[in-house]
């Protein structure tokens, strides 16, 4: 994954250490499997601040592969990753809709 530079409108993602599942950093520094719960950065400084929280979590052996992901606000006001890779990471394989996060939710998208 190409590393993004910290900027506004990003979220922080990683993989949970035990399961490898894609997770997203929330504003209070916990991780959620739902990208809509993620903190969307308001500036480059904000992204850096969130990134520091995520790296601390990595050092506590909670997550692997911490990285920034470009995101945008959906119509419902929730953040959502914009790039294909992050979108597929968030939902699960497009060829197996019965697997991954998409399978555990009744999400309409």
């Amino acid at each position: 994954m190409a590393d993004l530079k910290p900027a506004a409108s990003q979220l922080i993602s990683a993989n949970a250490l035990w399961t490898g599942q894609a997770v997203f950093l929330t504003r209070d520094g916990t991780w959620s499997t739902d990208p809509a719960q993620a903190a969307l950065s308001t500036s480059a400084e904000d992204s850096l601040h969130l990134l520091e929280m995520a790296k601390a979590s990595n050092a506590r052996a909670e997550v692997e592969l911490v990285h920034l992901a470009a995101a945008t606000l959906r119509e419902d006001g929730r953040p959502w990753p914009t790039r294909n890779r992050e979108y597929i990471r968030a939902l699960g394989p497009t060829v197996r809709r019965d697997l991954g996060y998409q399978a555990a939710t009744a999400r309409a998208d």
Partner: protein, 551 residues
């Protein structure tokens, strides 16, 4: 089948214990991500988009029923009920949890399996002709050689930190089903009138960013000296191969930049230096290994079987499957049955736990307990009596495993792509599914005949697109998935690298483009000419014109 001796068992058990310890230390925070990454990869554990992935080695693609049952058990117990056969005769699990990995490896060890040499810059799992020991035209069973190389290369101290990964393939028939010319080292067994049995050695083939059809570095290496020659090649590569740039670190780049002659000279010098002190262990060890690859005690049968002939006459679907998926066996009355893991519109290489159990049961009851995985992501029952073929087909058909499309347009090789893989730039599987559906709907696969379509989701080329008669490479263009088309590649004995047709296509466009290429072929071919033959006769021009127009 080769059965592990105490030495093999000890190595594997020690590795599991070490890995269990490392997993516990990572989970408790005593190992950093970077420290642990190297260790997990050495044990076949990758971190992909949605989960960890475990790649299990299937040495030279050979499995028996107890191993296949175990793979099914692992899929059910630790994964989501399925596995994925890869383009290197291995199997991958897409969803296991890290904490379960040591237990999975324990389960595998109980049936002489492991995940060693499935990752890292070392000699990877050795691949071979999936019809080994069964092909009518083979010189000898290539698997004892592959096993010898496996044992020699496993945890080899000198070759555990090579500049880059290193893949060796062994083939023993005139037909190359192991893609030897696209490997770091490809060994082709041959008989020399004076020197007896030995190998033609191809060095420096490969796919990826910079594809090469490997040159023959030495036309003949006697069987007894093959490990010494491999050592000379590996040692030369280890010394000179680039370590500053991962994209230029494979032996193919070294051979290309240095030139075949200069590299060969270096290898010959090392070979000559090693030979006087090389012991004859390979001969002794080869005899021991060979004694374990006992040719099944085949029944002495007439080549024709009345019941089988009758079933062919009365059941068209069965006859069609036999015509497409069944190939001649060296033993009269027997056949090689290919099991397609490419149902129309399905995911290439995926197989459910129940399907694995069925294949294992068939191997055990009517297949001399042997199963093979192919680099085309299919399975093979290499030894089936013709009189049992109808029963086998009926069972496969019931389980959705009787698609009659071996080497046909819908028998598509596809890497996991962006649906699973952290390296991918675009999805591969949906493209394979759409192309497969298109050909199934048109019902003209028989008319088209042999056509190998191969799809990779990134330039690493795990989907072997360079070697596809029709190759497709997924790329990311400003956030959009685009697909480049290549034509005229081959991974067989007539190996060649496909040529890019021109500008790429989007997801819908690439399926149409493949259709256009096939229409062009059908319009231009001479009687009985395959797609590849037509392409080689005509060159790319008529295909480009059909795709892009003359402007």
């Amino acid at each position: 089948m080769y059965r592990y001796d105490d030495y093999d068992q000890t190595i594997v058990r020690q590795r599991i214990n070490d890995f269990r310890d490392a997993v516990e230390r990572r989970l408790s925070g005593h190992l950093s991500e970077e420290e642990f990454k190297l260790i997990r990869q050495m044990n076949g554990v990758y971190l992909q988009l949605h989960a960890y992935m475990l790649r299990v080695a299937v040495p030279y693609g050979s499995l028996d029923s107890r191993q296949m049952h175990k793979l099914a058990h692992i899929a059910r117990t630790y994964d989501k009920g399925y596995g994925h056969f890869t383009t290197r005769q291995n199997i991958q699990y897409n969803w296991p949890a890290l904490r379960d990995m040591p237990d999975i490896l324990e389960e595998l060890a109980a049936v002489d399996m492991h995940a060693i040499q499935t990752s890292g810059n070392l000699i990877r799992n050795v691949t071979a002709d999936p019809y080994a020991g069964a092909a009518a035209e083979e010189l000898a069973d290539p698997r004892p050689y592959a096993e010898l190389i496996r044992q020699w290369s496993t945890l080899h101290p000198e070759f555990s930190f090579l500049p880059r990964k290193f893949k060796i393939a062994v083939n023993a028939s005139a037909t190359d089903r192991a893609a030897v010319k696209f490997h770091d080292i490809g060994l082709q067994l041959k008989n020399d009138p004076q020197q007896g049995r030995g190998f033609s050695v191809v060095v420096g083939g490969g796919m990826g960013r910079t594809p090469f059809v490997g040159p023959i570095l030495r036309d003949f290496v006697p069987e007894a000296q093959i490990l010494t020659y491999l050592e000379a090649v590996l040692r030369s590569y280890n010394e000179l191969g680039r370590r500053d740039n991962a994209f230029k670190a494979r032996i193919k780049i070294l051979v290309h930049e240095l030139g075949k002659e200069a590299f060969s000279e270096m290898v010959e010098q090392e070979f000559a230096r090693l030979l006087p002190t090389a012991d004859d262990l390979p001969t002794v060890e080869l005899a021991r290994i060979r004694s374990q690859f006992i040719t099944p005690t085949f029944d002495q049968l007439p080549d024709q079987d009345a019941d089988y002939e009758q079933a062919l006459k009365t059941d068209d679907a069965f006859a069609h499957w036999v015509a497409v998926n069944v190939v001649p066996h060296k033993q009269p009355g027997y056949a090689i049955a290919n099991i397609s893991l490419k149902p129309y519109g399905g995911i290439p290489g995926d197989i459910s736990a129940d399907q694995m159990d069925l294949v294992a049961d068939l191997a055990q009851t009517v297949g001399h307990d042997e199963i093979r995985a192919t680099h085309a992501q299919n399975l093979v029952l290499p030894h089936v009596r013709k009189r049992d073929l109808y029963t086998v087909w009926q069972a496969l058909d019931k389980a959705g495993l009787a698609t009659a499309n071996l080497d046909r347009a819908s028998d598509i090789i596809a890497c996991p792509g962006l649906d699973y893989c952290v390296l991918a730039n675009a999805r591969s599987i949906p493209i394979a599914q759409e192309i497969s559906k298109r050909f199934a709907a048109k019902g003209r696969e028989d008319l088209i005949g042999e056509l190998k379509i191969k799809i990779s989701g990134c330039i690493n080329a795990c989907g072997h697109h360079h070697a596809g008669h029709i190759g497709i490479l997924g790329v990311d263009r400003k956030g959009e998935e685009m697909y480049q088309l290549t034509l005229g590649g081959s991974g067989a004995e007539d190996a060649s690298i496909g040529q890019i047709t021109g500008r790429g296509f989007d997801e819908a466009g690439i399926v149409d483009a493949v259709d256009t290429v096939v229409d062009t072929y059908l319009g231009q071919r001479k009687t009985d000419e395959t797609f590849l033959e037509t392409y080689r006769r005509l060159g790319p021009a008529p295909f480009k014109e059909a795709l892009y127009g003359t402007a």
